[in-house]
């Protein structure tokens, strides 16, 4: 039936033959790998999805559903490179001032309407309209205009070259024919029952309980291997773990204790497979550079040298992480492996502090300078066991070089309100999630130290500023690599942060799912290729 429809739409005989040949090969492949579209993947989420419009979704649950239902112009492949999604190819012209996307033909919305350039134009007009309230609007502020050149060609004009655009334009495209004329997108019915072009279509949403997506058999790549994608809402993580053990859910993200200790049972090992890969985030200590205590680079370097990241990873993450030396994703081209960072060296740390004038004159174990002791508050947010534990280890490690630290753990909202927003802190332990595009502008440019910006440690270096601006305008991957590796080196030398570690992501998935291939992008990137062998199917409807 589907074959017939596909054949009908193709006019030229040569194309017919190649399509038939392709379909034949595909069917053989499908048959050989034992795949078909069946069973259901049941995941769990702590919170419920909120708004299923890709550019308004700002929580993990909504984002993961949107990722299944919608497609962007571009997407990220298994090795974190930009590749085409709804756009088959693109042209960067006029030094990056213009990008023309050539759209895939024959893609259909879940309601059967054809996908065209008008949808792309509509989506980006909505994103850039201040009335929409898109939280990601800043990523698109350099876009001057979006115009449809033909039904399947779209031209983006920029006010200045913006290299991260190719990644950022992976934002899901919404259907114009359903959303046009709707004033408030948040309360639109399609924000609750989305219609997209993606591998899964919306099926059912029981508030507070579960959300079900069903395979889109007409998906442009191929029909997904798993028939249903279910997101259960289970707010308690220990209950999630028990559900995983009992087979109620098929997958969850484990914490280090569950990964190392709780999974060492037959029940777990027979049913569940564990995976580990570098997560796209790092944990660091940030020093308030406006505090005179940290204005001397030797003090910051000494503090970094006195920390043994290996011990922290081993004791706090139970070994599930890797040391970090700079603000780029380890394993990506932009991470500068030749930067030594600050390998644990107590003697060197002590020497640096002495050079900076910090000496223990009254022999109480704490260093002094000009009558002031080297003591400060190390704050972190409540709710992260890893950060709290790390703070305790660091407190002891620093005591070894005569630095006295008091730990403060504060609830997230109060933490942001009292410490970060008002820049009223000395040192904090926090983490950053690394977007796929390496542009460090929002965190490291001196511009971002203004109120509301994310450079709350007030780092400012003209050379780094210049390189960041250069990197944003550079489309050549080789050049960008050079620029960001240089930024990595400069920031590491300045030591405004002590870069601690990249934790591993540690998901667990039921063993009946086959076709999972961990890669730098994680495991979810090829979800449509996952399948369950016929004799292991659990949900048969």
């Amino acid at each position: 039936m589907r074959l017939k429809r596909a054949v009908k739409s193709v006019k030229r005989p040569l194309a017919v033959i190649s399509v038939v040949a392709f379909l034949f090969c595909f069917c053989v492949l499908v048959w050989a790998s034992g795949a078909g579209t069946r069973d259901a993947f049941v995941g769990a989420s702590i919170g419920e999805a909120r708004i299923l419009v890709p550019f308004l979704a700002d929580d993990t649950a909504s984002a993961s559903i949107c990722g299944m239902v919608y497609n962007g112009l571009t997407r990220i492949d298994k090795n974190l490179n930009v590749t085409g999604d709804l756009a088959e190819s693109w042209d960067v012209a006029r030094g990056g001032m213009e990008i023309t996307f050539f759209l895939r033909k024959g893609v259909k919305w879940h309601d059967g309407e054809p996908f065209t350039s008008a949808d792309v134009v509509f989506t980006y007009e909505k994103i850039m309209d201040p009335g929409t309230g898109c939280p990601y609007a800043a990523n698109f502020r350099d876009i001057e205009s979006v115009t449809a050149v033909g039904d399947h060609t779209v031209k983006f004009s920029f006010s200045r070259p913006y290299a991260p655009a190719l990644v950022k334009l992976g934002m899901g495209i919404i259907p114009k024919h359903l959303f046009s004329g709707i004033g408030d997108m948040r309360s639109s019915p399609y924000a609750r029952s989305p219609v997209g072009t993606g591998p899964y279509r919306f099926e059912e949403w029981q508030r507070g309980r579960y959300l079900i997506l069903k395979a889109n058999y007409d998906y442009y790549e191929h029909s997904p291997g798993i028939k249903r994608y279910v997101q259960l809402i289970i707010p308690d993580q220990s209950v999630q773990f028990l559900e995983l053990l009992s087979g109620g859910i098929d997958s969850m993200e484990l914490n280090p204790y569950q990964y190392r200790l709780r999974s060492d049972t037959d029940l777990f090992k027979n049913e569940i497979e564990k995976y580990e890969y570098l997560s796209h985030s790092y944990t660091y200590i940030g020093y308030n550079l406006r505090d005179p205590l940290f204005s001397d680079v030797r003090v910051r370097q000494a503090l970094s040298l006195a920390i043994d990241p290996r011990e922290i990873v081993d004791s706090v993450l139970l070994g599930l992480g890797e040391p970090c030396t700079g603000p780029f994703l380890k394993g990506s081209a932009y991470y500068n492996d030749s930067v030594p960072g600050y390998p644990y060296d107590m003697e060197k740390a002590k020497r640096l502090l002495e050079d900076a004038g910090w000496v223990d004159t009254d022999e109480d174990g704490i260093l002094e300078k000009d009558g002031r002791e080297l003591r400060f508050v190390l704050a972190t947010n409540q709710g992260s066991q890893v950060r709290e534990d790390a703070a305790t280890v660091i407190q002891r490690q620093w005591a070894g070089i005569g630095v006295k630290v008091e730990i403060q753990v504060v609830a997230w909202a109060a933490f942001l309100d009292h410490f970060i927003d008002k820049k009223n802190f000395q040192a904090v332990i926090l983490g950053w999630t690394l977007p796929v595009d390496p542009d460090p502008d929002p965190i490291w440019h001196s511009r971002a130290s203004a109120p509301g910006g994310l450079n709350f440690v007030s780092y400012s270096d003209p050379e780094v500023d210049r390189l960041i601006d250069e990197g944003r305008a550079e489309f050549d991957p080789g050049e960008r690599k050079r620029i960001y590796r240089e930024i990595h080196r400069l920031i590491s030398e300045d030591a405004p942060y002590t870069f601690l570690f990249f934790p591993y992501a540690t998901p667990a998935v039921n063993r009946r799912f086959k076709g999972i291939e961990p890669a730098p992008a994680g495991i979810g990137y090829n979800f449509i290729d996952w399948y369950v062998p016929e004799d292991e199917v659990r949900y048969k409807f």
């Binding site: 708004i51 279910v230 259960l232 308690d236 028990l242 109620g248 509301g452």
Partner: protein
């Protein structure tokens, strides 16, 4: 009697206003705001997103103005929109209320059916082995952290023995089950939450009924009944129990607030799609309109519960019913 009812109903209004004022103040006194929870320290989100979010929901106005605005909307039964997903608060609460009520009513019934016999038997056989065992066990139940008990029960009955489902109210494939299957699976999902809720609530009611029964058993009319030669069974179940039940009615009304506040925890653990979990999530996310809405409904439920128990008390006890007629 009618005057009594009207008076009690009228007293509820100032109580509601007062409680919502306190709730509003406490919620806004907590440091931080919803936009910081939502967008704080996210490099993907623009600086202006927080400000825009605040102005969109009027959170940048003075607190007094926000409170007056809220009161005005409440007057026309508009609870506003949730800051989390922009859905109307009233709709969200109404969709979650049945699940909570179902759990509470069943738990209350279980508590009542267990606590009363325990109390009566303990009173009749005061200081017996049964009495002591029961005293210790209900206090253990009262003192035990509910979340711990819940996890242990889940571990044993859900994971090891696989007798009962662990969380939720129905499986996600409920639409493919027949009606009887759906009723059965709902009952199975309710077993653990009801046990945990009831276990904690047992202590209060059983102790009260024991004390009340002991008191009544010492009364002269019980002596009279026995002297008349009535069988002990009849003395206890008819003459004594009827009078001992009076204070229990009040206690039952007062158990309601404890159950509702407890539901914040139980529903979160068991992923029960009720109002308590809604409230818990709202508090965690600084969702002001939602917190106010859940707070208001919980207050209302509590007041109605207390009111009903008072009316019931008045109905069964002529001394109160006739008081106003002097």
């Amino acid at each position: 009697m009618r005057r009594y009812v009207i008076k009690r109903l009228l007293l509820m209004a100032p109580m509601l206003i007062g409680i919502s004022f306190i709730l509003f103040a406490v919620m806004h006194l907590a440091p931080g705001d919803p936009s910081s929870i939502r967008y704080g320290l996210n490099p993907e989100v623009s600086d202006s997103a927080r400000a825009r979010f605040n102005s969109m929901y009027g959170l940048d106005k003075p607190i007094s103005e926000q409170f007056i605005g809220w009161m005005k909307r409440i007057a026309v039964l508009d609870l506003g929109r949730s800051l989390m997903d922009d859905a109307p608060v009233r709709e969200k609460i109404l969709s979650r209320l049945p699940a909570t009520l179902l759990l509470q009513v069943v738990s209350l019934a279980v508590i009542f059916c267990l606590a009363l016999p325990i109390g009566v038997l303990s009173a009749v056989r005061k200081d017996s082995v049964f009495d002591r065992v029961m005293t210790v066990s209900v206090f253990v139940g009262y003192a035990m952290p509910a979340f711990w008990l819940a996890l242990i029960l889940i571990m044993v009955f859900g994971v090891r023995l696989q007798w009962l489902p662990i969380s939720g109210m129905s499986p996600w494939y409920a639409q493919y089950l027949s009606l009887p299957e759906n009723v059965l699976t709902l009952a199975r999902h309710m077993v653990l939450p009801v046990i945990v809720t009831a276990f904690g609530g047992l202590a209060g009611l059983s102790r009260y009924s024991r004390a009340s029964m002991i008191e009544v058993l010492g009364e002269n009319y019980i002596l009279t009944a026995r002297a008349k030669g009535l069988r002990e069974r009849r003395v206890i179940l008819v003459h004594a129990l009827k009078n001992a039940l009076l204070p229990i009615i009040t206690i039952l009304g007062l158990t309601l607030p404890a159950l509702i506040s407890g539901s914040f925890i139980f529903e979160t653990i068991f992923a029960w799609p009720g109002m308590g979990r809604l409230g818990y999530e709202a508090v965690m996310n600084y969702d002001y309109p939602m917190v106010m809405g859940v707070g208001l409904i919980s207050t209302l439920l509590t007041l109605v519960g207390v009111f009903l128990s008072d009316v019931a008390y008045a109905l069964v006890d002529p001394r109160i019913r006739l008081e106003g007629r002097k």
